[in-house]
């Protein structure tokens, strides 16, 4: 009896969640279309957000119930859709960013043709993301994979057509497509060998597929050294599209990687995990280092996406390595850590990009050195932005800390593993991640300081006004969920660990109690922190503080004298001169012995562009130029080609090469 009733309940669940998925998708379609037909995109975007929420609910439902709905993965090319636990989780990721993003766009987009087409693009983008997660056969998978790349490009071009935008979009498409060849090859091989259908691929081919998929997916995920498109493309897009790109799209590339490495390949061997960890370490350190040197807010945030994707990759790599050295529990923990960080990054990076959008709507340019003092002018946006910054900097008691703690723990336990090589890798990765966290703190102290605090450096900042309620609400929602996940990560982690290899079950609870650690009781920590801060602050309030100007050697504080990004990061730039190769020029124009003006220009070149991408593309173009000489225009040359081809083939046949 109970089993039957349980079965019936499962049936109900499945029916319900399937219905939710369909409903959500169709509602998004309706929203996308209505955005075009109606005069203003607002209604359409609202509908889209509803649809995304429905899909997220379906995802959570599947994740919680643990019963996949729809079709299972299949190796032939018959179209199929379905949702299992992993897809459900990523549906949740899509939803938690998609809903606020659409809500934000509702107030951010103008009610003109461009606004309407952007709303349409947003809807299509959401559908592409959802479709990619729900695809269950190779052609659907690859189709939505490509769409997922293209729609943002189209959205960028819809928003702006200047030279910079066109070039950025081209670089984006170019790099992702060349890398995408890896995805194509690996997916086709997997499909053709029945790996999607549930017979994991092993043997020599598996290594090839692993390499191809690593190249392909990590290009799209923006892992170094294949990241060069990311800091170009993300800043160009409209804020809510950037949020979706940075928060969701690059995560879905990792979703693909997880599918290939954890599900469709037989355990591929130690080297894959180590490689993934190396790439992850490079990405997180390199990403945050370059982020520190940026002077434009959205570009800085884009580099931080590289950093955080790197952290996720570290977790996944650690999980693979643990699996290979026979520690299923830690393998599952590392896996859960990676997924949790993916979700967290989606939350706070979405929040930060939306905040950047709000600032640019309020004051225009996002040059860090020309902002300031916005916290007083835009309290809601400012506070939410600051919270997001704290979260991405990995500070307790916010969500970034929870996932980075879990990742660090797994790396550290890799460091105490029983092989020297693995242990060294683990120790180095641990140190790298710790340094990354500290660098992130450095970077976001700089960001908050330059954007929100101090004196306004521009007239617009002095009269900036708070953005409309819809935009505020979306940011507040994201900030709230950052806090919630920071306080209650334990509700999610066991589920995620169960998705991972080994199907390990962890003790549930508000905080994270992991064997081999001193446990992270997030809730208690948060409460203790809040209470003690409250008490101490209350005590500090009396006697009253006396107003006084800040101490700048007796002068009055002036915006012109205020510190800028370059100055604040100078110590690090000097220490790491070798890496940054910064060059600067100071021009002092003196006339009649009096200094008339001093111009100072300094920049940190992106070494990957100057040393890797630049030369390669130059060489390729030169080679192409040489190859084009083939079309010399001389008919006689062409006839010689004909004779030569004929002679070559005949000769080959004659000497028996062609059998």
């Amino acid at each position: 009896m109970p089993t039957r009733s349980a079965g019936a309940r499962v049936e109900r669940l499945i029916g319900a969640s399937e219905a939710l998925v369909l409903a959500g998708a169709s509602v998004i379609i309706v929203g996308a279309l209505s955005a075009v037909v109606s005069r203003s995109p607002r209604a359409g975007l609202t509908v889209q957000s509803i649809g995304v929420v429905l899909l997220g609910a379906a995802g959570v439902w599947v994740l919680a119930s643990g019963h996949a709905v729809g079709a299972a993965f299949r190796s032939d090319v018959r179209p199929a859709f379905g949702v299992d636990g992993l897809s459900g989780f990523f549906l949740l990721v899509i939803a938690v960013v998609g809903a606020p993003a659409t809500l934000f766009a509702r107030d951010a987009l103008e009610a003109d043709g461009r606004g309407r087409s952007l709303a349409l693009a947003t809807g299509v983008f959401l559908l592409a993301l959802v479709g990619f997660v729900c695809a269950r056969d190779v052609s659907t998978f690859l189709g939505f994979w490509e769409l997922m790349t293209l729609v943002p490009a189209a959205a960028i071009l819809l928003a702006r057509q200047d030279r910079e935008a066109r070039h950025g979009v081209f670089v984006y498409l170019a790099i992702t497509h060349i890398g995408g060849a890896g995805v194509w090859v690996s997916m086709l091989v997997l499909a053709q060998h029945g790996a999607l259908g549930g017979h994991p691929l092993g043997g020599g081919l598996a290594a090839f597929v692993a390499c191809a998929s690593l190249v392909g997916f990590s290009t799209k995920a923006g892992l170094m050294p294949l990241h060069s498109w990311l800091p170009r493309a993300h800043p160009l897009a409209p804020a809510h599209i950037s949020a979706l790109m940075s928060g969701v799209m690059i995560k879905l590339a990792l979703y693909g990687l997880v599918r290939v490495l954890f599900q469709w390949l037989a355990p591929p061997g130690l080297w894959v995990g180590i490689t993934l960890m190396a790439v992850g370490a490079l990405s997180c350190v390199g990403g945050v280092l370059y982020a520190l040197m940026q002077h434009e807010l959205k570009r800085l945030l884009a580099f931080h996406s590289i950093e955080n994707v790197g952290i996720v990759a570290l977790g996944l790599g650690a999980s693979l390595v643990f699996g290979d050295i026979g520690q299923p529990t830690w393998s599952a923990i590392a896996f859960a850590a990676a997924l949790l960080h993916a979700l967290n990054h989606a939350l706070f990076k979405g929040l930060l990009f939306l905040g950047a959008g709000a600032f640019s709507k309020a004051v225009g340019s996002l040059e860090l050195d020309r902002l300031g003092g916005l916290l007083r002018r835009m309290p809601w946006t400012g506070a939410a932005f600051a919270l997001g910054a704290m979260a991405i900097a990995g500070l307790p008691p916010l969500n970034g800390f929870a996932s980075e703690w879990l990742t660090l723990q797994s790396l550290l336990h890799l460091g105490v593993a029983s092989h020297l090589g693995v242990a060294l890798a683990g120790a180095l990765a641990t140190a790298a991640l710790a340094a990354t966290a500290a660098l992130a703190v450095y970077c976001f102290v700089k960001v908050i300081g330059l954007v929100l605090l101090g004196l306004p450096r521009r007239a617009e900042c002095a009269q900036a006004s708070e953005v409309p309620v819809g935009m505020r609400a979306s940011m507040v929602f994201l900030a709230g969920s950052c806090v919630a996940l920071g306080v209650l990560p334990g509700l999610l982690v066991p589920t995620l660990a169960a998705l991972g290899p080994g199907r390990v079950t962890l003790p549930a609870g508000a905080g994270l109690s992991v064997p081999g650690t001193g446990s992270l009781p997030t809730l208690a920590l948060a409460l203790a922190l809040v209470v003690s801060v409250g008490v101490l602050a209350r005590l500090a309030r009396s006697p009253r503080a006396a107003p006084a100007p800040a101490w700048v050697c007796g002068q009055l504080p002036a915006a012109g004298l205020a510190w800028k990004a370059a100055g604040f990061t100078k110590p690090l730039r000097l220490v790491l001169e070798v890496l940054f190769r910064a060059h600067r020029e100071v021009q002092v124009s003196v006339s009649a012995g009096v200094v008339q003006s001093i111009t100072y220009k300094a920049e940190v070149p992106h070494l990957f562009d100057t040393l890797l991408y630049g030369p390669v593309s130059q060489a390729a173009l030169r080679a192409a130029g040489v190859a084009r000489r083939l079309q010399s225009g001389s008919l006689r040359a062409y006839l010689i080609y004909l004779l030569a081809l004929l002679g070559l083939l005949l000769a080959l046949a004659r000497i028996g090469v062609l059998g």
């Binding site: 032939d76 090319v77 018959r78 179209p79 190779v138 052609s139 690859l142 189709g143 939505f144 490509e146 769409l147 293209l150 071009l157 057509q161 030279r163 066109r166 979009v169 081209f170 498409l173 170019a174 497509h177 060349i178 995408g180 060849a181 194509w184 090859v185 086709l188 091989v189 499909a191 053709q192 081919l205 090839f208 191809a212 173009l621 080679a623 192409a624 130029g625 190859a627 084009r628 083939l630 079309q631 008919l635 040359a637 062409y638 006839l639 080609y641 004909l642 030569a644 081809l645 004929l646 083939l649 005949l650 046949a653 062609l658 059998g659």
Partner: protein, 490 residues
């Protein structure tokens, strides 16, 4: 019944070629063209339907064979030819002086056009290698005149190169055919010895050397006509200088149809040479064409020249699909053929308003169409996006199927190289797409004249066709069409 129908398929345009000379006024010629085009198209489409309905084993007649593959090609040739015929009056109206005296120009154009079309339609049906060769040579004669129609110096040059290169190539192919004939002479040295079926039947008994050299000579010769690298050099010139309707017919119908002949040669003669040599030759041609196309696609080019080089790329992809010789790849080839035909002809048709409103577009790459004219921009954009294989275009699915088939045929190396080359080629098309639609454009919006309206109508129609194609490709890719497509031929 079928015999009559199939005789009529090439005969009607042949008659049309003569009838269009009767009317004295341009308008009359146009009307005659309209009638002839509609009748021929209806006949050809009926024939292809007949072929689909009971062509699983191929309908064999006195001079023709109609199988699934042939039916597909027939349909494509019919549709593209119809579109080109419909477009021609608008082109002729907007075109300036021509190779021929103004009074007879239109008549000459239509005559050559219909001869060309008739030859193509017949080519999809013939069951005999020798006859096929004669027809191919005939297409050269007819289309060379059309290529040079505009009479400009460049057009003359292009036409001349086309004529010389392809005729020499075909001479080589003919030598191959004669060698094959000599080899088959023991089995009755009559014309029917060169029927596909008899070749297939007796190929096994051929002396290995004879078969090998015949195959090489025939493929090299046909390659010069198909436009496979490295003997493709006439292709960009001819496509970029010919009148747009003719370019469409050349790129979308002529090249694939000649490839059909090559395909049949490979299928029938391939058994006589050891370890899939024929397939490997196809793969070599395919990869070479892809590789050669890339550096040219990377350079900003005049619109039609860009399309021409993309034709080179797609002929390479088709060659790959044929060379992989697995059912999935074969389905992919057919879808690719049809999708490429629709998209490419759409692209060439948009060149008409382009040339009308922006004469410099014959030399420079077009820029910023989106701001100049929505229908033209839509046409150009959809055509380029489809040609670069972006979803949801049919070419996306066909390329996927072809590569999948390649892996099924254990050609992982070729598949990987092809995937990378396609991605590299995509760079060029993507750049062209971005600049064509969003680049800086000068001048104010084009007013929607006749040519622009035409572009709009064609865009709508062909886009619907493309969508239908992709839907069917997406849903029916896994059906067992592939096997029958491959079997029916011999």
């Amino acid at each position: 019944m079928t015999d009559v129908l199939l005789i009529a398929v090439p005969a009607v345009p042949l008659v049309g070629a003569l009838l269009v000379r009767l009317p004295r006024t341009p308008g009359g010629a146009d009307r005659m063209n309209l009638i002839g085009a509609n009748i021929s198209t209806v006949l050809a489409l009926t024939a292809s339907v007949v072929g689909f309905v009971h062509g699983a084993r191929g309908l064999h007649g006195s001079w023709f064979v109609l199988d699934h593959a042939g039916a597909c090609f027939l349909a494509v040739i019919a549709v593209v030819g119809w579109c080109s015929a419909m477009v021609s009056p608008t082109y002729l109206a907007s075109a300036g002086k021509s190779l021929f005296t103004a009074r007879r120009a239109r008549a000459w154009y239509y005559t050559a056009f219909y001869l060309f079309w008739a030859a193509l339609l017949a080519l999809a049906l013939v069951k005999n290698l020798g006859v096929a060769w004669l027809l191919i040579e005939a297409t050269t004669g007819a289309s060379a005149l059309l290529v040079a129609y505009s009479g400009r110096r460049n057009a003359l040059e292009a036409g001349w190169k086309y004529l010389v290169l392809t005729t020499f190539g075909l001479a080589v192919a003919l030598l191959g055919i004669l060698i094959l004939f000599a080899g088959l002479a023991p089995h009755g040295g009559t014309l029917s010895t060169l029927d596909w079926q008899s070749i297939a039947r007796h190929a096994g008994g051929l002396p290995h050397q004879t078969a090998l050299f015949a195959l090489i000579l025939i493929l090299v010769g046909l390659a010069a006509k198909i436009g496979w690298a490295p003997v493709h050099n006439w292709l960009p010139d001819a496509h970029s200088e010919a009148p747009p309707p003719v370019s469409a017919l050349l790129s979308a119908a002529l090249l694939p149809t000649v490839m059909l002949i090559a395909w049949r040669v490979v299928l029938t003669l391939g058994v006589a040479v050891p370890h899939h040599l024929a397939d490997h030759l196809m793969l070599a041609f395919g990869l070479a064409s892809l590789a050669i196309a890339v550096p040219f696609l990377w350079r900003p080019m005049a619109w039609k020249r860009l399309l021409a080089y993309s034709s080179l790329e797609h002929m390479g992809i088709l060659a790959l699909g044929i060379g992989f010789a697995s059912p999935l790849a074969t389905v992919g080839v057919i879808i690719h053929l049809a999708g490429h035909a629709l998209a490419k002809s759409l692209g060439f048709y948009t060149a008409i308003p382009l040339a009308r409103h922006d004469p410099s577009s014959a030399q420079r790459a077009p820029r910023g169409l989106a701001r100049l004219s929505t229908p033209v921009a839509a046409g150009a954009g959809i055509s380029l996006a489809t040609l670069s294989g972006l979803p949801p275009s049919p070419l996306f699915f066909s390329e996927l199927l072809i590569l999948l088939g390649g892996i099924a045929a254990h050609q992982i190396t070729s598949v990987s190289i092809a995937a990378v080359l396609m991605a590299l080629g995509f760079l060029g098309l993507a750049h062209a797409l971005i600049e064509t639609l969003a680049g800086e454009s000068h001048g104010h919006r084009w007013r929607s004249g006749r040519t622009v309206r035409l572009a709009g109508r064609l865009t709508v129609g062909l886009t619907l066709g493309l969508l239908a194609l992709s839907v069917s490709a997406y849903l029916l890719a896994d059906s067992h069409a592939g096997a029958s497509l491959m079997r029916g031929i011999a």
